[in-house]
Amino acid sequence: MLEIKNLHVKLEEEDKVILRGVDLKIGAGEVHAIMGPNGSGKSTLSYVLSGRDGYQVTQGSALLEGQELLEMEPEARAAAGLFLAFQYPVEIPGVGNMTFLRTAVNAQRKTRGEPELTAGEFLKVVREKAKTLQIDADMLKRPVNVGFSGGEKKRNEILQMAMLEPKMCILDETDSGLDVDAMKLVSEGVNALRGAGRSFLVITHYQRLLDHIKPDVVHIMAAGRIIKTGGPELALEVENNGYADLLAEAE
């Protein structure tokens, strides 16, 4: 599904190198987790994959189903099936959440040559999906993420994901700021989307999320590289011992 090869990234404005040769291969239907110390480059990786400005790729490639992502506009990447649940979801005053969702869904359908959903069709689907995520009608009406609590913002990210039905989902610390019940809700939302060949890259600091969303593969990122790859047990090791041993081992 997603194949990242020797990805090197620096900041556009400064001479600061953030990613130093990331290699990552996620097969269709697989769930991979990335853990790693603060500032190791996890969010940067997700931003670079989704096409945010401000970064410069100096080497490497990222293929989504064989298509080079790094040359595409952000909207084209989304239409090709990439989705990023932001670590810090963005507030957009003046744009209603519902309008935002419908615009996004129909824009992607249009790009893919599919018929746009009518207002009625859209409403039916969005209500149903919002309900399972316990997002009430009021949150759908309000401006995107404005005045939402931390947990509400994260649930709203998952709602967008559920509506857009991407092939490759990147979740950047979707568990942070969630209470125990919300974590369960969000995980169920994610698990409901598993299957159909859909792949996930779950960035997290905590094993707890991975109890709900069981990963096939766990990667450890440090200083802009994947320093270790293993099974779910690797997450447990981090939970128990922290990163010190892993970092020393990689030296």
Partner: protein, 425 residues
């Protein structure tokens, strides 16, 4: 003295080609206005009130001759309205609906020769009141020389809005229009305006709102590039009465909209809002003066400007709270979205307060489009242009939100979208 003389000379040159009509019930009023005008002369660039906008094209003897019109999308076409059409500054009866609407009596200024008592008490009166503390000579010139306009006497609650439609067909048309609206106690009216009345427009609207009456005004100026427009709306607002005015200005070489409102009765409100969009050699100026002269009144000024490619936006807004106007609630916001580094927003918010128990807030900002929000939208698959449009409309939302009627607000939003489509990067 030299300055004063220059203003007098400008006035003499400006009015040389205008015909002065001293006949009928308007005669005495016009004569009086001409005397006031002569005492003031015309405004000049150095005047404090014209600090940000050069009045040169507004005071010039002749309007700049440009192309007559560009095709402008008609608005409110699905709305049931009483339509009054003005072509090149003259009322066009053939294209207009009959002057009949329940709850309203209507007359056209050029044809209203017989004495209309209410109009004789209003014509030029609010304009004259609006000359202090700031002089507005071009409004006085309008009172003295306006040949056309509509006189609207509202006694009830008409079932539909009155829609004024302006068209310009001849190049260099210099339109001077003067409307009067008298709202009797408890009455209601929605007044719509759209179009470009001429290559140069000087429009004055006087609105007298009696106790408990409600006046809604929505104006859409989707202008051609090379015209200049000056509008004044003067309102006197009685107890528990409401005044609400929204203006959309799209392009136009120079547009200055002045709104002068006096809250004279307790518990009344005045809301004035604007959404302006300009690209290129465009100057858009909103100048507002609200006087709170009674208790527990509320005023709102919400102005948003989207500027691109060298366009200049100006906002001058003043709230004057007179002694005794306790519990005043005044809100003022003016914001510009600069779509590039060439555009400019000049704002002068002012508060002058002589009462102690008041709540007034004002804010003014200008900034670029939010890149983070833009990326967020694009990451969800919304193409760049559509994402930009969405954010521009979101920026304008608070101003459009001042329009009470949903269908009208939607029509305005659609019109703004047209501008965005025409002016894509």
């Amino acid at each position: 003295m030299a300055v004063a003389q220059a203003k007098q000379d400008a006035l003499a040159a400006r009015i040389a080609g205008l015909s002065f009509d001293a006949a009928g019930w308007q005669g005495a009023l016009r004569t009086e206005a001409l005397a006031r005008l002569t005492a003031m002369g015309l405004p000049a660039k150095r005047d404090e009130y014209w600090r940000y906008t050069n009045p040169a094209t507004l005071v010039a003897p002749q309007p700049a001759v440009g192309t007559a019109t560009t095709e402008e999308p008609a608005l409110f076409t699905d709305l049931d309205c009483l339509k009054l059409v003005f072509v090149d500054g003259q009322f066009d009866a053939a294209q207009s609906d009959p002057l009949a609407l329940e709850g309203v009596s209507l007359a056209v200024l050029s044809q209203a020769k017989a004495d209309i008592h209410w109009a004789a008490d209003l014509f030029g009166q609010l304009e004259a009141r609006g000359q202090s503390p700031v002089q507005r000579p071009l409004a006085t010139l309008n009172t003295a020389f306006a040949g056309e306009g509509v006189l609207i006497h509202v006694t009830g609650k008409p079932s539909k809005p009155i829609s004024l439609i302006y068209r310009a067909t001849s190049a260099g048309c210099d339109a001077i229009l003067h409307h009067c609206v008298k709202m009797e106690a408890g009455s209601e009216l929605t007044l719509l305006e759209q179009g470009t009345a001429g290559a140069r427009v000087n429009l004055v609207t006087e609105v007298d709102i009696a106790d408990g009456a409600r006046f809604h005004h929505i104006r859409a100026q989707g202008r051609v590039e090379n015209d200049s427009t000056l509008t004044h709306i003067f309102a006197r607002i009685g107890q528990e009465a409401a005044f609400k005015s929204f203006t959309m200005t799209a392009d136009g070489k120079l547009t200055r909209n002045e709104a002068v409102m006096e809250l004279l009765g307790n518990d009344s409100s005045a809301h004035v809002a604007g959404a302006a969009l300009g690209e290129g050699a465009v100057q858009q100026d909103d100048t507002v003066f609200i006087t709170h002269a009674a208790e527990r009144c509320e005023s709102r000024q919400v102005f948003k400007k989207v500027l691109k490619n060298g366009a200049v936006g100006v906002f001058q807004g003043k709230i004057l709270v007179k002694q005794g106007a306790q519990k005043t609630d005044g809100y003022q916001i003016s914001q510009a979205l600069l779509l590039d580094g060439d555009s400019q927003f000049l704002a002068k918010p002012e508060l002058e307060i002589y009462a102690d128990d008041v709540k007034c807030s004002h804010g003014s900002t200008s900034g670029a489009i939010d890149e983070t929000a833009l990326f967020y939208l694009r990451s969800r698959g919304v193409p760049l242009r559509a994402a930009q449009s969405l954010l521009v409309l979101a920026f304008l939302a608070e101003a459009i939100g001042e329009i009470e009627d949903e269908a009208i607000a939607e029509a305005i939003s659609a019109r703004l979208q047209v501008w965005l489509d025409w002016h894509e990067q």
